[in-house]
Symmetry: C2
Subunit: 320 residues, 2 copies
Amino acid sequence: MRFSDIGERSLISRITELLGGLEHDDCAVIELDVDCLVVTTDMLHRETDFPAQATPWQIGWMSAAVNLSDIAAMGAEPLGVLIAAGIPPETDLGFVEEIFRGIRDCVKAHGTEVLGGDTDAHRELTICGTALGRASRERILRRRGARPGDLLCTTGSLGGAGAGLKALKIGRTDLARRLLEPRPRVREGIALARTGAVTAMMDNSDGLALSLHDLAEAGGTGFVVEYVHIPLADEVRAIAESDEEVLDMVLSAGGDFELLFTVREDMIDDVRGACEFTVIGRAVENGIWLNRNGIRVPIPRSGYEHGSQDEIRSRVHSHR
Amino acid sequence: MRFSDIGERSLISRITELLGGLEHDDCAVIELDVDCLVVTTDMLHRETDFPAQATPWQIGWMSAAVNLSDIAAMGAEPLGVLIAAGIPPETDLGFVEEIFRGIRDCVKAHGTEVLGGDTDAHRELTICGTALGRASRERILRRRGARPGDLLCTTGSLGGAGAGLKALKIGRTDLARRLLEPRPRVREGIALARTGAVTAMMDNSDGLALSLHDLAEAGGTGFVVEYVHIPLADEVRAIAESDEEVLDMVLSAGGDFELLFTVREDMIDDVRGACEFTVIGRAVENGIWLNRNGIRVPIPRSGYEHGSQDEIRSRVHSHR
């Protein structure tokens, strides 16, 4: 059996089992004497992870942002980022330096720094970021923890990155900024953790659908999302041509990097002051549902997944 | 100007400057309230970093070992490893699982664990490991710290990995084990840090020559290595055909993963009980020298370097 037969998620399950089990959170958690350390790593490749139109600065920004978003998702304070970069030998130095300027600007914008890294020669530009953060043991937010009845919330708006993908296809680069320069919700994550009212949290980087399934699986619950409460990004309104396209951008496209979290209903007022967010639904006993015009339809476990047949066909073999 | 025009070391210098300066140690150091956290990342590629003869288990072992060696080089205790893996879609699942068994066996053998990671589809197998460790603020060992007069020491023996490279070329796989299954000196690093007598330390993974230059640069000193005191690996004795080849294996080949460290001469007895090691020379005011038959010759700054013209010619473009 090959990697392409089973996709990334199944492979991760097998590897996790082989390694003796891992917690499924956005970061690994290590308890130190005083604080908890959280740490995460993400590998990004030129062809499969960065749109062809991305500038080198945006490539750098994205590389730092995706890792900082995982730190934010734990409600942790970033301690720094490490960057390992595999760089094609023929790459212009100015291009490489722009990548690192993008990384620097992203970490600075989120109150942290580059701690170190590694560079070597590689055929395809590959950037592997690792971010570290700290959080107090009592305040750290995990994917598990939601209980039926909890309110389901999201920061910011949804679908902006998915709309950006379409924008690039039709030459509307002006509408692709959310896709190319994602803003990790670091300040919001820390503020939400401090409230003590959030029961579970993760980022929605793989799309709302997959994120809801992950959150449900970790907590042993289900979720109902109210269609009318979904905060649509302006880019979705500008570019989507049908309800189906709107839903695809929100649920499946991925790349939004908002925080998806649950709150005990009786404590929602404690969260109001922490940051801007929208209540989009509620945790239920089981199932992942979209409530639209009074009808509940199941939300399938679809979203951006590396290594699956579709992704391989459309990305790895396209050599764009 | 292109990456291939300047090589990895110069690129790192430029990036370091761009990022506002970084300490040149094997790991980044973050001071927490009680202990120091150390963290390191290394990206390895199928074609440039793993000999073609390496088994998948050995690929996994090496990926964990190179990162654990950096933790050892700081005298730190490993807290865990994260692995991001880019895997070609056509890779057999059994092969992937063997890689992760190798990773698991290596981390277990050194008293630590895999904390998390990331997998995705990538054209060339690429494994980016990140290792974390802890050390007390007073005990942590850095590259800077050697003073003229300090004794220069190494754990284990030297040249075994370089000999392994030649062994693979001539079909003597039996002599390549040190190359393919490097043993990070985790126990030794912790024990050396506890003595309080070690003034500077790093691993020699890029070869003795480059490591000496790095150690000298960090400490503002020089070093004299006594040829007769170099502990040659058995593999070097078995396979090297000339003195020149011996020196090349020891000084330039890289891949040995021993600890190179300096000790105050009056405290050498405090170090004797920590681990097995050999005194191979001494820190001096300046210059990197080999003392052989009473003649001092300079040791050039040569060693394994990614992205340099030679490496690119011989590795990236060879598609072996």
